[in-house]
């Protein structure tokens, strides 16, 4: 496997790095340590710069107006984009645009007109509602939200939890059970407008992540048109699963980026901090932590890029995506943990971004499929 960067990839990587270091990092000195968004003016100014660079709409397929960038290159960019305080969950504060709900690319033309295109223009926002209080990693069994057909409509009752952005959204993808006898074939994806009677955002769910909160939703006799089924009835599980698998790769690249930034800070600090008359960099205990950091970073990066390369080449990549997600989220957490240790007391203050990364990386071992689910995915491929 050859992971040598092409000249174009090197230029793109350097361009994104310069943008983050020159445009994003300086802004953070004035923002709250847990800030996750910019003012509208700042966002528009920076998004215009990204558009000039030709990178806006990263993740949107070229046929829908996104940049024509392969997944390996996108991962290299994601690694750079996450190298700032808010970078893990708000890389570059969203100024590279977003693909929104990728599931909508398979929508009917009528649905695309109503939801996809306005979403890509930034006029409408959507949410993705799969997880329920009864579980999220095993949707085939855990989904209890029930949709019952009544003429040309479906009546939906149930609840969802850990749903990001639902309180600000215009619509969302809601996965509900349409046939209790069929397991995963009994799950259907509905496009639901948030002004539909019966739709309620019950509360904000506060978590370790002190920004970009999640919400809990409730559906009470919520009537949705049959036309609002995304894909086909009973195919909701497959719509969710395919996108989740692909998203794991750039998601993992973001973890690696934060680890790289933490390691850079740890090395710089070890080179200037003295204890008992000697630089930390001269202490074997610290040297080994730095080396272990580097091993974790390079291992994770290799697996992320290998998974991306398989995806780009059209080969099956489910196993590789699971391994990349597992290793990147766990290794990056270790890197930030060691970097905090090297910084001592300063490492746990809000003066530095390390404590935020520490909290947020802990979530990464659970979000987008916890480590145990990634192991289950790999075990199935190895054993069945």
């Amino acid at each position: 496997m050859d992971l040598t960067l092409s000249d174009e990839q090197k230029i793109i990587t350097q361009t994104v790095r310069r943008y983050i270091q020159e445009e994003i990092v300086p802004l953070e000195a004035e923002l709250d340590p847990d800030a996750y968004e910019l003012t509208r003016e700042e966002f528009d100014r920076l998004a215009a710069k990204v558009k000039e660079m030709g990178f806006y709409g990263l993740g949107i397929p070229p046929e829908f107006g996104g940049p024509d960038i392969d997944l390996v290159t996108r991962c290299l960019m994601e690694e750079e984009m996450s190298q700032h305080r808010a970078g893990l969950y708000s890389p570059a504060y969203g100024t590279f645009g977003g693909a929104g709900l990728a599931q909508l690319y398979v929508a009917s033309e009528q649905q695309k007109e109503k939801y996809l295109y306005p979403m890509l223009r930034g006029e409408k926002h959507g949410f993705f509602a799969l997880t329920e209080p009864s579980g999220g990693s095993d949707p085939a069994r855990a989904i209890q939200t029930r949709a019952v057909r009544d003429g040309d409509e479906w009546v939906i009752n149930g609840s969802k939890i850990f749903i990001s952005g639902a309180d600000r959204a215009d619509f969302g993808l809601v996965f509900a059970r349409t046939d209790p006898a069929k397991g995963r074939q009994g799950i259907t994806c509905f496009i639901v407008d948030t002004d539909t009677p019966g739709f309620t955002v019950r509360r904000i769910v506060h978590t370790l992540r002190s920004a970009l909160y999640a919400t809990e939703l409730q559906f009470e006799d919520m009537r949705v048109s049959h036309e609002n089924i995304l894909g086909e009835e009973g195919m909701g599980f497959y719509i969710a699963n395919e996108t989740l698998t692909r998203n794991r790769i750039p998601y993992s690249a973001g973890c690696v980026g934060v680890a790289v930034a933490a390691q850079r800070m740890a090395i710089a600090y070890a080179r200037q901090r003295e204890t008992f008359g000697e630089l930390l960099a001269r202490r074997q205990a610290i040297q080994w932590m730095i080396v272990d950091n580097e091993i974790d970073i390079r291992t994770a990066r290799w697996l992320v890029l290998a998974a991306a390369q398989r995806s780009d080449s059209g080969e099956p990549f489910r196993f590789e995506a699971a391994m990349a997600k597992l290793v990147a989220s766990e290794a990056s957490g270790r890197v930030v943990d060691r970097s905090i240790q090297i910084h001592g007391g300063y490492g746990i203050t809000k003066d530095l971004p390390l404590e935020r990364w520490y909290r947020e990386l802990r979530i990464r071992r659970i979000g987008e499929g916890p480590s145990e689910i990634q192991r289950i995915i790999m075990a199935r491929d190895l054993l069945y």
């Binding site: 847990d34 309180d167 009677p197 739709f199 955002v201 978590t207």
Partner: protein, 125 residues
């Protein structure tokens, strides 16, 4: 969840009793109506205490607060940003507007969503 803490009258001599850490707070008028919802973030040198002290000082620039604030209540919270959004959203959902002090000139309001839905509400978005 609303901010379920007792209202307190600000007394400079007792300011040290106010937590000097991150959190959220509300300012109330004479009648106990909430006129401002704020937070003390990670860059606030003396946390909630510092914010409350400034609100009740003669230098307070927000005229709504300067003219009407008579009491405060606060909650220590590390998730101050999301809690702030939650309190603002709940207030706006209930009263169809933000507290007067948050709508005063120069006040930054985060982007808010809404908790309740239904077609009868859509026109008031």
């Amino acid at each position: 969840m609303p901010l379920n803490k007792p209202w307190q009258t600000f007394d400079p001599a007792l300011a040290k009793e106010i937590p000097p850490v991150t959190g959220v707070y509300e300012l109330g008028d004479e009648q106990g109506a909430v006129i401002y919802i704020g937070y003390a973030g990670g860059r606030e040198p003396f946390g909630v205490r510092g914010r409350i002290q400034r609100h009740f000082s003669p230098g307070e620039a927000n005229l709504v607060i300067r003219g009407r604030a008579r009491r405060f209540r606060c909650e220590v919270n590390a998730q101050y940003l999301t809690r702030h959004v939650e309190l603002l959203t709940r207030h706006r959902d209930e009263y169809r507007r933000l507290p007067d002090g948050n709508e005063a000139p120069g006040e930054a309001v985060p982007r808010l969503g809404r908790f309740r839905a239904g077609r009868e509400d859509a026109s008031q978005r």
